[in-house]
Symmetry: C2
DNA sequence: AAATTTGGTTTATAAAATAAACTACTTTAT
DNA sequence: ATAAAGTAGTTTATTTTATAAACCAAATTT
């Protein structure tokens, strides 16, 4: 009756991040922070979790002299997100 | 950009319970347990939280000689659920 | 009458989210 | 040149949540 909700995506901040990343080529740490309003610490931790799950790729480089962390969704991430959205329907569509 | 997700509803089991209760007059503990597949302990705890938030009413009585816990959604619960579903759209509708 | 089942609650443990503190560096002001 | 403040994060500690395990009281079954 109710489909399972992937616990990795069933988190406000991680869901917001995925929601952003699914719509863009890539996005950096600062942008994600601005869009989500998350604290840096929380964002850092949640990005790590998404990366460890293989849902996003994180590339660390520099823009000029400043460090820059760029994130990009993976195919697995895209799939998981779509599945999560579908599972959600079983809770809210009735 | 992203609307806040009411943390009380952003929980798989509590969401499932609310999803059931929004569609029926009332439902008892045993039925909720069957439909959600939750353990009794978990269900008991989560029902308490929903009741304390004023989202559901819990009535304890007996069916014959056996105890029976009946749950019913409140107006506040209905509102909160609808608001939660709307907030969700900001994450998944793009 | 002992064992099992029903319908739960309470308590303990594991996992998650979040905030606070810290690191490493850059830029700006003195 | 150096101190102060800002940027871009990470790490660690704390709080909150979710979940499971243990328990309780009464009913039913053997």
């Amino acid at each position: 009756m109710f489909k399972e909700l992937n616990p990795l995506l069933h988190s406000e901040l991680r869901l917001a991040v995925m929601s952003i990343l699914i719509g863009v080529e890539d996005a950096d740490f600062v942008f994600l922070r601005q869009e989500t309003g998350a604290t840096a610490g929380n964002l850092s931790v949640q990005l790590d979790k998404l990366a460890k799950a293989g849902y996003i790729e994180i590339e660390k480089g520099f823009r000029g002299k400043m460090p820059r962390t760029v994130c990009r969704i993976t195919d697995a991430g895209r799939d998981a997100f779509e599945e999560y959205v579908e599972a959600l329907q079983s809770y809210i569509k009735r």
